[in-house]
Point group: C2
């Protein structure tokens, strides 16, 4: 048998269906939320048996984790697409990009952060690492804005800032507990970033 899956006929079909399953699951999570995702629904929608889902992902959580993995990737792609020319604008761009992604894919993002493993199965390392990396994207522009600070300090600072942004957005987007009215969220977020930067001693025109 060929090692490379894409080259064998069998492998192509398998991969094709794997993609289909993921796509179906993602769509379901995005529209109806993680809680109403069911194996049988996914299998039926994909036109295959329940067992095939298990062949492909091992256990049902595996499918969810795969969707989540791709969610971080999509998020990261969006965040890294933010122009890095001006560090201050980049920070705002990052916050804004996160807000945009969270708005458009609220349920997917929730699935990423709220999904708990069954029993005490370990949470996949790679997803963890990817989320960390995404949250570290504020590091580079902050370093440029704060050249005199201890780098370790800035590293923590950037993750804190991103965590704060995450908190504001994730609570702000909950229609349930509207911490901040959605319309205002965008500008408020920008204001928040500015305020915090001001607190860090960064004033407009301070960048390298």
């Amino acid at each position: 048998m060929n090692i490379v899956q894409e080259e064998s006929r069998r492998g192509r079909k398998k991969l094709q269906r794997r993609t289909l399953l993921i796509e179906i699951a993602r769509r379901s999570i995005a529209t109806k939320g993680l809680r109403s995702l069911k194996v049988r629904d996914v299998a039926e929608a994909a036109g295959c048996s329940i067992g095939s889902v298990y062949n492909e992902f091992g256990y049902f959580d595996g499918l969810i984790l795969t969707v989540n993995r791709e969610t971080v990737q999509a998020l990261t792609a969006r965040l890294t697409a933010v122009p890095a020319d001006d560090p201050l604008r980049q920070l705002h761009g990052l916050a804004d990009a996160y807000l945009g992604f969270a708005t458009e894919h609220a349920n997917l993002l929730r699935s990423l952060f709220e999904h708990r493993m069954e029993d005490d199965r370990p949470f996949p390392e790679d997803i963890l690492a990817m989320v960390m990396d995404a949250f570290a994207l504020m590091h580079a522009p902050l370093v440029r804005l704060l050249p005199d600070r201890d780098p370790d300090d800035v590293a923590l600072l950037s993750r804190m800032m991103f965590s704060a942004v995450h908190g504001i957005i994730s609570l702000g987007l909950e229609e349930r507990m509207v911490a901040v009215p959605p319309e205002m969220l965008r500008e408020r977020l920008a204001q928040f970033v500015d305020t915090h930067l001001a607190g860090l001693g960064v004033t407009r025109g301070n960048q390298v």
Copy 2:
């Protein structure tokens, strides 16, 4: 029959068991997480039938919601216990109290924020209101620190600040995706509050 439940013998027993059920559920959530809470476990631990749980709470989510309701109450109690003498110290106290509660009751707090209703049953209004109230507790001290600002502005500001704190803490406490190392969390949080206040133009000694 007596209207007041506490006064009838039957009512006393009923209430007693209700309390027991809640206590068992809370303990289970706190130690093993929301996902592994099962009706049968709760019923068995309480020494009653499954049906009784349903008699008491209507549906299983009802029990969870009751626990969550009491979680917000406990959180609020802890937050309102923070001394209000000095507004700056109060803000730090609130952030610290939240961190303390989140550390001691990580799973309970997660249950509060992560629990999703089945299908599209509406999220209980009262819990929502209580969470909002808790998040508004930074309002009073901020008003004192920023007497010249538009009150509506300060209202939003306070909820944003609390949301930010929430984000930092909830991500920081996830062992899964350690955004900030736990040991440092406390001092970093204080630093965050200070930085943000500085950005708002508040310097030490600025309070009324």
